[in-house]
Symmetry: C2
Subunit: 322 residues, 2 copies
C-alpha cells in the first residue's frame, strides 16, 4: 500500500532513517516531520528526511494516516497528548521505543479514546551515532522489527503497521509487549550495561598508558557505550526489573568463569570458551541467513517470522513512564 | 634496515600478516615459514605469506637473522627448544604473545645460553578470524606494538626489534613485561571474558526467540567470543592473576551500576552513562589521532610513544608456561 501522509515525530537517527526510506521508496506520498526545536526544521528538510517539518503538533498530524513516534520513550506520552486534539478518526500511531510494555500500557487507552489505533513496534536497528545527519535509508534492511500487539489491538491497524515495516526492509516478529521487554533486556540492554561498566573499569585513569593497550576487541565490545546517554537512561530506568534480572544472570555466569580462571583449570576454561564460540557462531549464521533472505526479497514484500510462546506468562514490568 | 632472512614460526593470522607485509614492503629479502603440519606448507606459500615454508626447525632458522614466534604462547618454549641447536650466534628472536612476563621469563635465559637475543613483543592487533587465509599485509598499520625489554635485554637487539615493528606500520611502546600483562588484562583479556559471559547468558536457549532480539549492539559487544578458543584458553590461564583482578574490579563497577538501575535512580544512571560515554569518546579521539599520524608517516619510519611508570612495581604474575 501507499500512504498519503505519514508523520514522523522526532527526526533523529531512527526518525530520519524512516523518512529517507519512505521518500526513497515512495511508500508515502508525503512525509511530515514534527520537531521540538525550530532550528531542526531546516536540518531535517535539508537532510532529505521529510518533505515538510514543523514544530506545530496540529499542523504535523492533521492529515496524517500513520504517525511514528521516534522521540525518547520518556517524551512519548506528553507529545501524544499535544497531538490528540488534531487526530483524524482511524489514524494509526506506532513507535520505535526500545521498551514496550510501559509505552503500550499508557498510549493504547489514550489513543483509543481519541478514536485512533496504537500498535507498538521496536525495530532492532540503530547506531551509537545520533541525529538526522547519521540517518540512512537502508538502516532497517535485514533488521528484525518486533511488533507488540495486545488483545485490544485493531487487526487492520496491526496488519498495516506490519506492512509498513516490511516495506522498509525489516522482517517483522510479533510478540506480547512484556515478552519483548524481557528479551530486549538480555539481547540489547544487558550488552549496553556491560559495555558501560567495561569502559568505566578499564579507562578509569588508574593505570598509566592503559589507553594504548586497548585495541579493536575493546573498541567493539564497548561501542554502544558511546550512544546517547539520555536515551539509554530512559531505557534502563523504564525496563529496570527485567534488566536487573539479566544483570544477575550475567554476574552468576561471570563468577563461574572466574572460578575456572582463578584455578587455572584449562579444561574448564576451554569448555566456557568453546561453548560461547559455538553459540555465537550459530547466531551469526542465523543472522546471515535472514539478512540474505531479506536482501534478495523485493523491498515491498519483507518477511515474517512465526512464533509460539507456549503458555501465556504474566507481565513482570510495572515501571511507569514519566 | 633490510633483513636478509626472517623466519616466521607459525603462519596463521598474525604470522601470515607479518609475512605478507615483509614481502610487500621488502623489509626482508627472504621470508621463511616454520609450520607444524605438512599441509600448511602449500597453504602459506600460496597465500603469499612466505617465500618458503618447511616443517624442519633446522632448515627454517639456520640462516635467519630474525625469528618471530607466532604460535600460541603454550607452544613457544617447546618450539624454541627444537630450534636452538641450529641458531646462528646473534640471531634475534621476538614473539607476538598476548601475555609477556611468563614468556619472557622462560625464553630469555634459554635463548641467551644459545648466544641469541630475545626481545618480547605484543602487537595490539588481531581479529576473531584465524588462519593464514585471513591474513592482511596492513594488519599492523596504526596499531600499537608493545615491546617488553628487561634489564638483561641487548640494546642493539631491542633497537632492531623496534625498527622492525615500526617498519610494519606499528607504533612501538616499551614497558616491563609484568606491566604489559596487567594492562592487557584490563584492555584485552577482560573484554574477552565479558564477551564470552554475555554470549553464554543471552544465547543459553532459555528464552524462545531470544536470538531475534539480539542486534548490532550484541554482535559487536560479543565479536571476540568467536575467536580461537584454544588461543584464549592459553592466555587466560597464563595471565590468570591479573585477569582475576580485572574481573573483580569489573564486578564491583557493575554492581554499583546495578544499584542505580534497581532504584530507578535516573540521575545516578545518567551519571554512569555519561561518564562512560565521555571516557570512550576521548579514547576514540586518541586512537584516531594516532592512527592518522601513523597513516601519513612513511611505512619505514613508524613512531614511538614515550612513557613514565614512576616507581618500579614488582611482578605479580608467577604463572608458569606449560
Amino acid at each position: 500500500m501507499q500512504w498519503k501522509t505519514i508523520t514522523i515525530v522526532g527526526v533523529g537517527l531512527l526518525g530520519g532513517s524512516i523518512g529517507l526510506c519512505c521518500r526513497y521508496t515512495g511508500i508515502a506520498a508525503r512525509v511530515v516531520g514534527l520537531v521540538r526545536r525550530p532550528q531542526s526544521i531546516k536540518e531535517c528538510v535539508e537532510a532529505g528526511a521529510v518533505d515538510y517539518a514543523t514544530t506545530d503538533p496540529g499542523e504535523a498530524i492533521r492529515e496524517s494516516e500513520l504517525v511514528i513516534l521516534c522521540t525518547p520513550i520518556g517524551q512519548m506520552v506528553s507529545v501524544v497528548k499535544t497531538m490528540l486534539p488534531y487526530l483524524q478518526k482511524g489514524t494509526i500511531i506506532t513507535d520505535v521505543g526500545s521498551v514496550k510494555w510501559p509505552v503500550v500500557k499508557q498510549l493504547e487507552p489514550l489513543i483509543s479514546r481519541a478514536n485512533g489505533y496504537f500498535v507498538g513496534a521496536h525495530p532492532m536497528a540503530g547506531s551509537e551515532k545520533t541525529g538526522v545527519a547519521n540517518a540512512r535509508a537502508e538502516l532497517f534492511r535485514g533488521a528484525v522489527c518486533v511488533i507488540t500487539p495486545t488483545t485490544k489491538t485493531n487487526p487492520a491497524a496491526l496488519c498495516n503497521v506490519k506492512s509498513f515495516w516490511q516495506a522498509l526492509g525489516a522482517t517483522t516478529l510479533e510478540m506480547p509487549p512484556y515478552i519483548h521487554d524481557r528479551l530486549a533486556a538480555y539481547g540489547s540492554h544487558l550488552p549496553h550495561v556491560t559495555a558501560v561498566s567495561l569502559v568505566r573499569t578499564v579507562l578509569n585513569g588508574k593505570r598509566n598508558q592503559q589507553e594504548y593497550l586497548c585495541a579493536s576487541g575493546f573498541r567493539d565490545s564497548t561501542r554502544v557505550a558511546s550512544s546517547s546517554d539520555q536515551m539509554w537512561c530512559d531505557i534502563l530506568a523504564t525496563n529496570n526489573k527485567n534488566v536487573i534480572r539479566a544483570i544477575d544472570d550475567f554476574i552468576r555466569e561471570l563468577r563461574r568463569f572466574r572460578t575456572a580462571i582463578a584455578k587455572g583449570d584449562r579444561r574448564a576454561i576451554g569448555r566456557f570458551l568453546n561453548k560461547a564460540k559455538q553459540q555465537r557462531d550459530n547466531w551469526c549464521l542465523l543472522k546471515e541467513k535472514n539478512s540474505v533472505a531479506t536482501y534478495f526479497t523485493p523491498l515491498q514484500q519483507g518477511a515474517q517470522i512465526k512464533i509460539d510462546y507456549g503458555e501465556e506468562q504474566s507481565p513482570n514490568c510495572t515501571q511507569q513512564l514519566m
